[in-house]
Symmetry: C2
Subunit: 161 residues, 2 copies
């Protein structure tokens, strides 16, 4: 049953983070970390009207993740959890999503704030963040008890390298 | 520069929707549409602790999308927009995300509510929805002016088939 699916990459994310250790663990922790998203020229037309959105999803590949682990201790916890109940990069598909703030669109290059990914990350997709679909303020979240302030302070270590 | 990346699939989404026409265009429009997510047995261990979360992201492949279109008229609009400023399935990577309500976890099968995907959709990943990271109530959203009620009422047609 299992199979791999070939997914198109559309560009590259350029961030200030050259290595995982010390990186913010979510975009909350990097509100000041600006970077750029270079979309391949042949897809630039698809960016039309994106500049009306204050926030966007970036969907990308954890390209430095070399393995999958079905159970992990997340950065924001001290206990072992199933990987699908965490945002660990060591998931079977090695696919990540981040909501970042969109500052500017110039041709095929976006400037964004709140990056929590490594420099050189391959980009799969960009989607507009639409609060009507995407914001569920009353969602409950199991083991994840940390406040926004705690998430902002937390930095990555070497557990997922 | 361009390349495709091979991404692992981890299971299959089973929904009430056998064809695109008439399907809700977002999970808002299918609050009553329940379905199941069958994760492959070999990944079941990764679901541990997921049941503490009321909402989850499903990341999947638009398996019926046969082409990409860089400019589309979205369901919730009447004008042509760049595909990355929409949630159209006809995007280069054919990857979709939905936030759904998690009702139950039994072994390797999740029961969820709010599906807006076709039956048989290949699943790439499951992530917990964590409001501290994922909820941006003040995000502004360009062309997308529809209220939650309008999104709930809207149904897909054949424009993306």
């Amino acid at each position: 049953m299992s199979e791999k699916i070939a997914v198109e990459t559309i560009g590259t994310i350029h961030s200030p983070f050259k290595r995982l250790e010390g990186m913010p663990v979510q975009s909350l922790g990097s509100r000041c970390a600006e970077g750029t998203v270079a979309v391949e020229q042949r897809f630039a037309e698809g960016l039309r009207d994106l500049d009306g959105f204050s926030h966007i999803y970036l969907i990308y590949v954890f390209h430095e993740a070399r393995r999958a682990e079905l159970e992990v201790v997340p950065y924001m916890d001290t206990e072992v959890r199933g990987v699908f109940a965490t945002r660990s990069p060591l998931r079977p598909a090695h696919v990540g999503i981040s909501v970042v703030e969109l500052l500017n669109v110039a041709g095929n290059v976006l400037t964004v704030r709140g990056l929590d990914v490594l420099d050189g990350t391959p980009l799969i997709d960009i989607k507009p963040y639409i609060p009507q679909f995407d914001c569920w303020p009353n969602a409950t979240c199991g083991w994840m008890k940390a406040s926004r302030a705690e998430v902002e302070r937390r930095r990555a270590d070497d557990r997922f390298t």
